[in-house]
């Protein structure tokens, strides 16, 4: 266990890397998590628990495939239910990874370096959970291939490219692929480090194959840096497009509460909000359990909190705007939607949403909250709960009461809905912990560039 966090004097920001590090200590500390034979007890416990939840997910999905989506709470008029709520929630969480690795790279925010690797992993694993929901929501995922993708089939039918749902398929699958490439290309030099630091032949061979013969040549680095910067430049508009397209799933329809032009920026801000909350939920236990306080310093936690505060304010503005536009339009269906949120049968969820996403995160204005890991952790949990509620409010409360009162209805989830939702959290945790054990969770080669010795002196 490393030394506890020491808060610097007032007016001085904590460093982005602890003092006294050398190329060797950075390498040994980060590679040591992977190359040790000793598996920590907490790791075994968490993985066992997560694997149990993953088993629950598999059971619930198997039963779903056997019986059909009738085991869920979805019904007409609310045909989307948990599946789409969870889809939007997970895909939103996935957005922080690319924001950290691409956008902050282009803005030369060097503090991103110690959190970008596991934020990218978080993105990939979150998008995997997200992708599961629309797939099983089709009821017959084995047929979904040609429903979703333009795959030649004997019936000669093709996807409808005027539909935002098909845009979503392309956006999410491209996002997954590009995130995976970004993560993979970042890992190559670190796999070479693990190969060269490995103590046994088998381990050396495995990481050797993954490193693909990387030898740190200047010519290679030169092309590598170009490719890396270009990927960052490509991922930046991509990450903004993905949640914009997700929001168009709603906004292109004419349902009251969905049919608004500000949905894309509102969804993107919300995605980054929840993504940074998830980064904190993973970073705070990780740095504590592995003693990584020198690499993931208070500065990283404070900066993440500030990003959350900024995006949270955008989200709060969007909530206000939703209400304002409902009133300003003087459209009776839009007014009814506003009234339904404030006084309808689900108003409790709406007020909880305001509490979780607007009121409680205001505590991030206080430096004492931003600099205390456990307080930040609690705020992050609250924000992620709030973001889930936001998607519930959007999906369920708009579908629940549309234009004709005879087609109004209510939605309640079933135990199968809950088993699958909780199960994806287990699956996510399982993947994340396996990643921490087998791959460097902090980018070793980029950390080396942060210390003073890395600069060439004239």
């Amino acid at each position: 266990m490393a030394a506890p966090d020491i808060l610097p004097p007032k007016g001085v920001r904590p460093p982005i890397i602890g003092p006294g590090q050398t190329f060797g200590t950075i390498t040994d500390r980060i590679a040591g998590i992977v190359l040790t034979k000793h598996t920590p007890v907490f790791w075994v416990l968490v993985v066992a628990f997560a694997a149990a939840l993953f088993g629950m997910l598999q059971t619930a999905v198997a039963y779903l495939l056997f019986k059909g989506t009738g085991i869920w709470g979805i019904t007409i008029p609310i045909g989307w239910g948990f599946a789409i709520v969870n889809f939007v929630w997970w895909i939103g969480i996935g957005h922080a990874g690319t924001l950290i690795s691409a956008i902050l790279l282009l803005f030369k925010q060097t503090w991103r370096t110690s959190i970008n690797r596991f934020a990218e992993a978080m993105t990939i694993f979150a998008v995997m959970q997200a992708g599961l929901f629309p797939l099983i929501h089709t009821g017959r995922p084995w047929l979904a291939a040609y429903w979703l993708f333009p795959i030649p089939n004997t019936m000669g039918i093709w996807p409808q490219f005027r539909s935002p749902l098909i845009w979503d398929v392309f956006a999410v699958s491209t996002y997954f692929t590009v995130s995976f490439l970004f993560w993979g290309i970042g890992l190559i030099p670190d796999f070479a480090t693990l190969r060269d630091s490995a103590k046994t032949l088998v381990v050396r061979r495995i990481y050797g194959m993954l490193a693909m013969g990387w030898r740190g040549s200047a010519k290679h680095w030169n092309r590598y840096e170009t490719a890396y910067m270009l990927l960052a430049g490509l991922a930046t508009p991509l990450v903004l497009s993905v949640h914009s397209v997700v929001s168009l799933d709603f906004a292109v329809s004419v349902v009251p509460g969905w049919h608004t032009t500000f949905f894309p920026p509102y969804f993107v801000a919300g995605a980054i909000y929840s993504g940074f909350a998830m980064v904190l939920m993973l970073a705070i236990p990780f740095r504590y359990l592995y003693g990584m306080q020198d690499f993931i310093t208070l500065r990283h936690l404070q900066n993440s909190a500030k990003v959350m505060l900024a995006t949270g304010m955008i989200v709060a503005y969007a909530y206000g705007l939703e209400m304002f536009m409902g009133w300003y339009s003087q459209d009776k269906y839009e007014l009814a939607m506003v009234n339904n949120r404030l006084h309808g049968p689900y108003s409790f969820y709406y007020y909880m949403l305001i509490l979780c996403n607007i009121l409680i995160p205001q505590s991030l204005w206080l430096n004492s909250v931003r600099s205390t890991p456990w307080k930040l952790f609690l705020v992050a949990i609250v924000v992620n709960t709030g973001m889930w509620l936001e998607r519930f409010v959007i999906v369920v409360m708009s579908l629940q009461r549309d234009f004709i009162p005879s087609s109004w209805g209510m939605y309640w989830f079933t135990k199968w809905d809950m088993m699958i939702f909780i199960g994806t959290m287990g699956f996510f945790t399982l993947l994340f912990f396996i990643f921490i054990r087998l791959m460097p969770a902090i980018s070793i080669f980029e950390m080396r560039t942060l210390i003073p010795q890395a600069k060439v002196k004239e």
């Binding site: 190329f23 333009p150 996807p159």
Partner: protein
Amino acid sequence: MKAGPGPIFGLMAEFETPTELVHAAKGAYAAGYRKMDTYTPYPLEEAAEAIGAHHNRVSLIVLIGAMLGMVGGYSLEYWVSVIAYPINSGGKPFHSWPAFIPVTFECAILGASLAAVFGMLALNGLPQPYHPVFNAPNFVRASKDRFFLCIEAQDPRFSPSDTRKLLESFQPEEITEVPY
């Protein structure tokens, strides 16, 4: 072990700091050596510049990938919506181009990203399971905390004694012959 064109691959000098490495690389370049490379644990722009390797064709490949993705994506949508499976959807024209933009955009990004990664790997000649520089003793530290300069025996100016003398003038930690 495979026999190479010469008795050795080159001479490898090991340095403790990036500054020494860049100084040596500049010196070797000034002495007329061209077939050489530096090996560093993190990207060192100055080293690439010192050995004259700061231009590459990755950007061009990415541009081609983006173009292919863009044209491919739009053509697919046009073919599906106008030729193969025309459906009147809400009275919109079969060729409703504004609705085709999001998928075209995603396909362009996808093409460019695949081109960036696989183009970079191809230009670097990776995956490459064997390379002579790994025979140099202590080369495992090139991925950790040491900086290496290798002048290759294929360079026309290479001579085992003169090249060694030149490298010695840069005061490296160690100079070793790299066998094939």
